[in-house]
C-alpha cells in the first residue's frame, strides 16, 4: 500500500548563511505590488528557495491581481491562477497530474516542486476545507503557502478570519455606537492544521523579516515531501496603515510581542525557532503588545482597555495553552472532578 510520496522529491539543503543563498531570481520585475509589500517579498523568497524546477499555483488575492497583469509577469517559473478557495485543490491536482503522467511514461520522470499559495482570505476562510483535504493525501508532494496579511487586502482591506481582534477594516470600521466591530480572535491556522492532519509531515510558521529562516523552511517543506503547509505573517502597509518603510520592523515586533510565534512541526515534533525560541526558553522577555499595536493605524481607535484585553489574550497563549503558542486546549484545573 502506498502510504507516502513515491515519486522522488528534490533535496534542497538549507542555505547556510545569507552569503550562500543562490543569486538567481524566479520572481522578478513585472509586478505592481504596493511599496513596502511584504507579501511580494515572500513570493520572491519562496520561489528563490524552491528553484527553477517548480510549478507555482496562485489563488486569487493581492499576489494574483497585483502580480500578473496580462502581457507582463514576474514569474520566471511556470505559474497558473487558481480560484480563491482552491489553493489546496490546485496543488493536489497539479501533483496528481504530474505523478500519473510520470508513472505511466507519458512525461519525463523528474521531481518537480509544486507550490500553491493563498492569502488569508483564500486560505484561512474560504479555502480551508480544500487545504485540509489536501493535507490528508500522503502520496502527493506539494507545499501550500499562506501569505497572511490579515485582511482581504486586494479587495479593499476587508476583515478576514485571520484579522486580529478589533482591527479597523473597511468591513469593521469603528463607529460611535460600536468601537470594536471585529470581535473574533485570529484563527489559529498552523496549530489547527498541524494537530489535525496525520498525513502532513511538515507545518511551519514564518515571517519574511527573517528571510533566511523563511527560505529554509520552504526548502525543508519541499524536501520533506507529501503535502506540507507554511503560514507566513506579512505586514501590509495599506491594510495595517503604517509607513511602508516599517514592514520589516513590524514583522519583528509581531514576533517579539509573542503575537505570532515562529515554529515548525516536523513529523509531529514541535520546534520553536528564532526569537520565539528565546521567548519560550525564557531568554527573551516578550515586548508589550502595545509596542506593536500603537505603530499601526488599524488599531488607532483602541482604548487602554482594548490594549489590555489584547495583552491578556496574548498572555494566555503563553501562560495557559497546553502547548504555548500552538495548541490552546487547557486541562481542567481540578482534573475534571
Amino acid at each position: 500500500m502506498e502510504t507516502q510520496a513515491s515519486m522522488d522529491i528534490q533535496k534542497l539543503d538549507s542555505f547556510k548563511g545569507v552569503k550562500r543563498v543562490t543569486v538567481e531570481e524566479y520572481f522578478t520585475s513585472g509586478h505592481r505590488t504596493c511599496q513596502g509589500c511584504e507579501s511580494a517579498l515572500v513570493m520572491k523568497l519562496m520561489v528563490k528557495a524552491a528553484g527553477p524546477r517548480t510549478i507555482v499555483l496562485g489563488s486569487t488575492g493581492c499576489m494574483y491581481v497585483a502580480n500578473t497583469t496580462y502581457y507582463t509577469t514576474p514569474w520566471v517559473v511556470p505559474w497558473m491562477h487558481t480560484q480563491l478557495g482552491s489553493s489546496g485543490s490546485a496543488g493536489l491536482g497539479t501533483a496528481a497530474g504530474l505523478k500519473a503522467l510520470m508513472r505511466k511514461g507519458k512525461m519525463k520522470k523528474e521531481p518537480i516542486n509544486v507550490i500553491a499559495f493563498c492569502g488569508d482570505g483564500g486560505g484561512i476562510d474560504m479555502g480551508l476545507s480544500a487545504i485540509s483535504a489536501t493535507l490528508m493525501h500522503p502520496q502527493y508532494n506539494l507545499l501550500i503557502l499562506c501569505y497572511d496579511n490579515e485582511s482581504y487586502a486586494n479587495t479593499d482591506i476587508q476583515v478576514s478570519g485571520a484579522s486580529p481582534w478589533g482591527a479597523n477594516t473597511t468591513f469593521s470600521p469603528p463607529g460611535k455606537a460600536h468601537r470594536i466591530m471585529h470581535t473574533r480572535w485570529k484563527k489559529n491556522v498552523a496549530g489547527m492544521l498541524a494537530a489535525g492532519h496525520p498525513a502532513c509531515r511538515y507545518v511551519a510558521t514564518v515571517c519574511a523579516s527573517y528571510a533566511l529562516d523563511m527560505m529554509n523552511k520552504v526548502r525543508k517543506a519541499l524536501s520533506t515531501g507529501g503535502p506540507t503547509f507554511i503560514h507566513s505573517l506579512d505586514p501590509c502597509p495599506k491594510g495595517w496603515d503604517y509607513d511602508p518603510m516599517y514592514s520589516h520592523e513590524l514583522g519583528e515586533l509581531a514576533i517579539e510581542a509573542g503575537i505570532f510565534p515562529l515554529y515548525e512541526v516536523e513529523e509531529m515534533k514541535l520546534k520553536f525557532y528564532g526569537k520565539t525560541k528565546k521567548i519560550v526558553e525564557g531568554r527573551l522577555k516578550r515586548r508589550p503588545v502595545k509596542d506593536y499595536l500603537s505603530r499601526q493605524g488599524r488599531f488607532a481607535h483602541f482604548t487602554e482597555e482594548d490594549i489590555d484585553y489584547f495583552q491578556k489574550k496574548t498572555d494566555e497563549m503563553w501562560e495557559k495553552w497546553i502547548l504555548p503558542g500552538v495548541i490552546p486546549i487547557q486541562p481542567e484545573k481540578d482534573g475534571g472532578k
Binding site: 524546477r53 510549478i55 505559474w79 491536482g93 497530474g97 500519473a100 480544500a130
Partner: protein, 415 residues
C-alpha cells in the same frame, strides 16, 4: 420493458459482422466507467451524490482491480473535485469527474473557469432535480446551467450512446482547435441505473480513435514556463471571449469529423446531432433530449397505427447547438412540439430552455413551423404514453387550425 427495448435498439444499431466487441449488460454509469478505462484517463476525482456516483463506484473498482491506472482522489466537495481535475488537465493529464443536481452547482465556479481556461475536462452529469425540496429524480436544469459558459453538452439515450459519446467527448474536447470541456448528460435513474446491452470495444480500437492528449504550447511545465490566466480586465477580456466563441464554433465541424471516424472504426451508424424517428412523411414532430425518447417513440408508433402522421426528432448535442441541422429538419413539418424536462421561470412564454433555443434557431426561416412547448417529466416523473399522446393531439389540432392557441403547456401535472 423499457430497458429491454432500448437494449435491442442499441444492439441493432451497433451490429457489425466481424467485431471483437464484448457485449455486456450494463447501466449508463457503468458504460461511462468503461469509456474512462478505454480512454486510459490519468486523474479522476469523486464526490458522492446520487445518481451520477455509481460511475465512481465502478471506476474505483476498476482501479482497485488493476484494470485502470489513474490517480483516484475522493475530494471533500464538488468544488474541489472539479478544481483538482482542472489543474491536472493543465499539466497534461486526461481527466474525468462528474456530478448531479446541486452538486454540479456546488462546483459552478470551477466549471466556469475550466471553460474559460480552455481545458478539455470531460464530465458526466447524472441529471437530477435541483433542491429544494429534495428530489432524486431526473431534470435537465443542472447540466443546462453551464450552457453559456463554453461547456459542450451532449444528451444520450442509451448506455451504448453514453459510452460512445464519452469517447467522442474526449476526442472533441482535446482537439487543439477546440480545447473546451464537455459534459455527457445521462438522465438520472432512467439511464444512470438502468441496464442495456452494450458493445464494449477493445482498447486497440479505441486507441485508433483517440490519440493521446497533447496540451502543446499551453502545457504548464518547467520546460514551458508560461503564466496562465493573468489578470486581463477591459484591455483583453473581450478578445479572449471571442477566441472561446470561435473555438465553440469550430467544435461543430470537429464533432462531425469525430463521428465519421467513430462510425468507421467501431462500425456504428450514429448521426452527429439529430436522430429522426418516423419523420419521413410526418406532419407534426416532437423534439426532445435524453431518455424521454423511449416513451415518445412508443407513442409515435401507436399513433401511426391510427394513421396519425407524428414523428420524433431527438437532439443529441445542446452545445454547440446544431442550428442549421435543426432548421433543415424542422422546416419540413407543419407543427413542432418541443419537450422540456426543465424549466426557465420568467422566460419568453414561460417556456423551457430547449423550447426557447429551438424557437430562436427557427426565427430566420422563411416558413417557420408552428411551435409548441411542453414541460413535463420534472423531478423524474415518468413521461407517459398518455402524456405524449396529449402533446401529439395538440400538435395535430394546431396543424388543422393553422394557429397556436397556447404556446406552452405543462403536461401530466395534477390539478
Amino acid at each position: 420493458m423499457a430497458a429491454q427495448t432500448a437494449g435491442a435498439a442499441a444492439a441493432k444499431a451497433t451490429a457489425t459482422p466481424k467485431s471483437d466487441d464484448k457485449e455486456m449488460l450494463i447501466s449508463g454509469c457503468e458504460a461511462i466507467a468503461h469509456a474512462c478505462r478505454l480512454a486510459d484517463i490519468d486523474v479522476v476525482t469523486a464526490y458522492p451524490i446520487r445518481p451520477y456516483d455509481t460511475v465512481m463506484q465502478m471506476v474505483s473498482k476498476m482501479i482497485a482491480d488493476g484494470d485502470l491506472d489513474a490517480e483516484y482522489i475522493v475530494a471533500e466537495s464538488e468544488h474541489s473535485q472539479f478544481e483538482i481535475v482542472k489543474h491536472a488537465s493543465a499539466v497534461g493529464a486526461r481527466v474525468f469527474a462528474g456530478s448531479s443536481g446541486v452538486g454540479w452547482f456546488y462546483a459552478f465556479e470551477a466549471l466556469a473557469v475550466t471553460a474559460g481556461l480552455r481545458l478539455p475536462v470531460v464530465a458526466m452529469v447524472g441529471n437530477r432535480a435541483l433542491d429544494d425540496p429534495g428530489a432524486f429524480g431526473c431534470e435537465h436544469n443542472d447540466a443546462l446551467a453551464v450552457r453559456d459558459l463554453g461547456w459542450m453538452l451532449t444528451w444520450v439515450e442509451t448506455a451504448q450512446e453514453a459510452m460512445d459519446n464519452a469517447l467522442i467527448a474526449y476526442r472533441v474536447a482535446e482537439d487543439p482547435h477546440v480545447f473546451l470541456p464537455c459534459a455527457v448528460s445521462v438522465d438520472g435513474a432512467f439511464l444512470t441505473h438502468s441496464q442495456h446491452l452494450v458493445k464494449v470495444p477493445s482498447k486497440e480500437k479505441v486507441d485508433q480513435f483517440l490519440k493521446p492528449y497533447d496540451r502543446g504550447s499551453k502545457l504548464l511545465h518547467p520546460d514551458n514556463p508560461i503564466t496562465i490566466a493573468p489578470q486581463v480586465n477591459e484591455d483583453w477580456l473581450i478578445e479572449i471571449r471571442k477566441q472561446n466563441d470561435e473555438a465553440m464554433k469550430r467544435a461543430q465541424g470537429v464533432i462531425v469529423d469525430a463521428y465519421k471516424d467513430f462510425n468507421r472504426i467501431f462500425g456504428r451508424d450514429h448521426s452527429p446531432f439529430l436522430e429522426e424517428y418516423m419523420t419521413e412523411d410526418a406532419d407534426v414532430v416532437l423534439v426532445g433530449q435524453g431518455t424521454l425518447a423511449m416513451p415518445v417513440k412508443v407513442t409515435v408508433r401507436k399513433l401511426r397505427e391510427q394513421g396519425k402522421k407524428v414523428g420524433f426528432v431527438r437532439l443529441k448535442w445542446f452545445r454547440p447547438f446544431p442550428t442549421d441541422e435543426i432548421q433543415q429538419s424542422l422546416k419540413r413539418f407543419k407543427a413542432v412540439g418541443v419537450i422540456d424536462r426543465d424549466y426557465s421561470f420568467g422566460s419568453p412564454y414561460s417556456g423551457g430552455v430547449l423550447y426557447t433555443e429551438v424557437r430562436s434557431a427557427l426565427y430566420d426561416l422563411a416558413n417557420r413551423p408552428l411551435l409548441h412547448g411542453f414541460i413535463c417529466g420534472l423531478g423524474g416523473r415518468e413521461v407517459t404514453i398518455e402524456g405524449v399522446t396529449e402533446m401529439s393531439e395538440i400538435l395535430l389540432k394546431t396543424k388543422q387550425t393553422g394557429k397556436v392557441d397556447k404556446q406552452v403547456a405543462w403536461i401530466g401535472v395534477r390539478e
